[in-house]
Symmetry: C2
Subunit: 447 residues, 2 copies
Amino acid sequence: MAASRGFTDDYSPALMTDMYEYTMLNAALKDGTANRNCVFEIYTRHLPEGRRYAVLAGTGRILDALAHFHLSDDDLAFLSDNKVISKQCVKWLENFHFSGTIRGYREGEMFFPDSPILQVEGSFAECTLLETLLLSILNYDSAVASAASRMVSAAGNRPCMDMGGRRANEWAAVSAARAAVVGGFKGTANLLAAKLYGLHAIGTAAHSFTLLHDSEKEAFTSQVDALGVGTTLLTDTYDIESAVRTAVEVAGPALGGVRIDSGDLASLAQRVRNQLDALGATNTKITVTNDLDEYALAALQTAPVDSYGVGTMLVTGSGAPTCGMVYKLTERENSAGIMQPVAKKSKNKGNVPGRKLAYRSYEYNLADCEHIIAGSEDQLATYEPKEGWRNLLVDYVVDGVVNSEYQGNDAIIAAQEHRTQALCELPITAQSLMKGDPAIPTEITLL
Amino acid sequence: MAASRGFTDDYSPALMTDMYEYTMLNAALKDGTANRNCVFEIYTRHLPEGRRYAVLAGTGRILDALAHFHLSDDDLAFLSDNKVISKQCVKWLENFHFSGTIRGYREGEMFFPDSPILQVEGSFAECTLLETLLLSILNYDSAVASAASRMVSAAGNRPCMDMGGRRANEWAAVSAARAAVVGGFKGTANLLAAKLYGLHAIGTAAHSFTLLHDSEKEAFTSQVDALGVGTTLLTDTYDIESAVRTAVEVAGPALGGVRIDSGDLASLAQRVRNQLDALGATNTKITVTNDLDEYALAALQTAPVDSYGVGTMLVTGSGAPTCGMVYKLTERENSAGIMQPVAKKSKNKGNVPGRKLAYRSYEYNLADCEHIIAGSEDQLATYEPKEGWRNLLVDYVVDGVVNSEYQGNDAIIAAQEHRTQALCELPITAQSLMKGDPAIPTEITLL
């Protein structure tokens, strides 16, 4: 199979995993428990301190990854040579294809502590192999989408653009751009993300381009010649006021935009706006960049800024660079072939046993509670939610067949739209940047 | 060229970059400045708050990436179709190969604010294309290596193992494992990292393996059958005391180790140590895991623990998930063909113009100052450092030819050894976990 959206057969995600997944598989194959049917659940015990909600991102990437989740001969030789797995296990892995079922929250959906974000059902063997990969994807992508969502709220109607790739691992940067768009961002500087996911790519020039030329005027002239007067010129390499004058002189009043990347952005934006207006460049946009986060964006609300470029704080989750998602066995077949809820009892790290349903209830069109219903398959099959409760679970994979609705570039746009709508349905405190409790409580019912 | 160490021709690092690198290239080709010789420098303006030093990691990965830094026909079509670049630029890119020179700090070296971590010399065209990629690699890898180094110091003689992959992007996890080893870690749970970089892989079982079985005893028996009595059994799924008893019952007193993943680790380790000793399992090791960071490791010094598994806080840089490294033009050829130092003057974001030398001076075998010497090529060529100053710069790439000494798996071990030695040469305050100033001051001399 050819490479697709970041996963290749050269580097299958099957080895982007912790060794113990394979040692467990190996032991389970040997003792006969590998085929026991299991339900694993991904959830988080808590949101980052004071956050009101989090946004799920990465499920579309999981579906991409599943298509490449198989081991090459080279991978199998590596595992075998290093005594991670036995010959029996090598044989079992040769034709591995996930044949189970994955259901969970929609991409772009808000989640809270204990939300059953993803449930994976299948044999122990196939479910255990997915643990690390699923967590890696969801933990990072959701951290970025959650930060993005707060920034987008703080930015109001002004578009936010991802410029953070240089502050993240080079592949993480690609996922971050995608997750940012799920969280409401309008574009990215990252070219590979734009190419793989069909995102809007942005960017014009760095300070080095101005410094390369003998004068700022030559640099601006070159850029306008290459990109047209609609381009955005970077105005803070030397003196901003003089740069703005030169910019309008070179491009004329139809200049697309100017960018400010240092200093007191609010007061500079105000001065530059007035200067542009005085020069007749009343439609020239102002974009600002420089270590922005949601608090800085909120503080810029009254400044005459048209768009934001956000970097470091976006790709590092604005103080919460990962979610605390875990992957826990909640139900499994016993030696008699009967499904039983299970839970570990580790101190402060226990989990709610059993498979789950998840709903959000509303009062006056505003969400007021997350309802998690835990029980056996039979119990859940006959469970009747109250009227008006929104079912939060969708089927991503059924018996190994991927639901393509949630994969690909359209799914990213759908996720972005879903995030906007679902956020509007939460009490407005969700959008507060003050630390506090989750926007709605979660009620867990054990049937 | 085949895939090598994480970079492939399917996904060349050439697009893991910001769009403006290509729009600048495009404009510079059009205006004739693209071939001007340039020196770019990577440095950081400050360390994360209160950190005493940082550790450079990722240079070996840069050399791997350079080998794949070229554009496929598909990439070129993408850039061209989206009007990022012109036909002239497409043609220029068709046979792109970096032919410049890269020198910088060794992998595993300590760095401080203003340290000229990497200097890239070549035409503007080729240097600008590398900006985003170099920063992505160094910013993330160094963030992880810096955190790892603090953890390793706090852990004393007890080995630290990377178990953080699930809390980072799936590719970032692979880089993190490598960077952790540069920072002094002894192994990783991440299989792809182990395979690509020849790292020691570790890991045995998760709680799900115990829950899968009808009893803890069956799970332990299965694991010992598959992995031998030298394995490490996870003892906190239910009740730790009873699990330890069962573990020794199943494996005998030659049991390799037990792992504790929850609760008050120090007091649990003490109880478990006494229990193991009483059961005759005096050589059974205790490994602990559970949201450890350098402070937790320091607090565990007196507890009878043998090794640590570190996850989230490692791969997220323990509060500093990225370094603030930037890539700035410091010298360039002007229209008359003469090299000139340059610097932007943006508020609080200016840089020191000119190319740099870097040395560390010592008193009584302890480093006392970082010396940065800035000047023209001629000035630096005749500069004589004082006796005993250690030259911090090595040649990574000379005229496009990679110095293989700094690439590959041996370079990772060399970097780890270098980090140990270089840290020993710093004043011991470097290893303090209290917030404070950098361990040594940096003196900048403009010739």
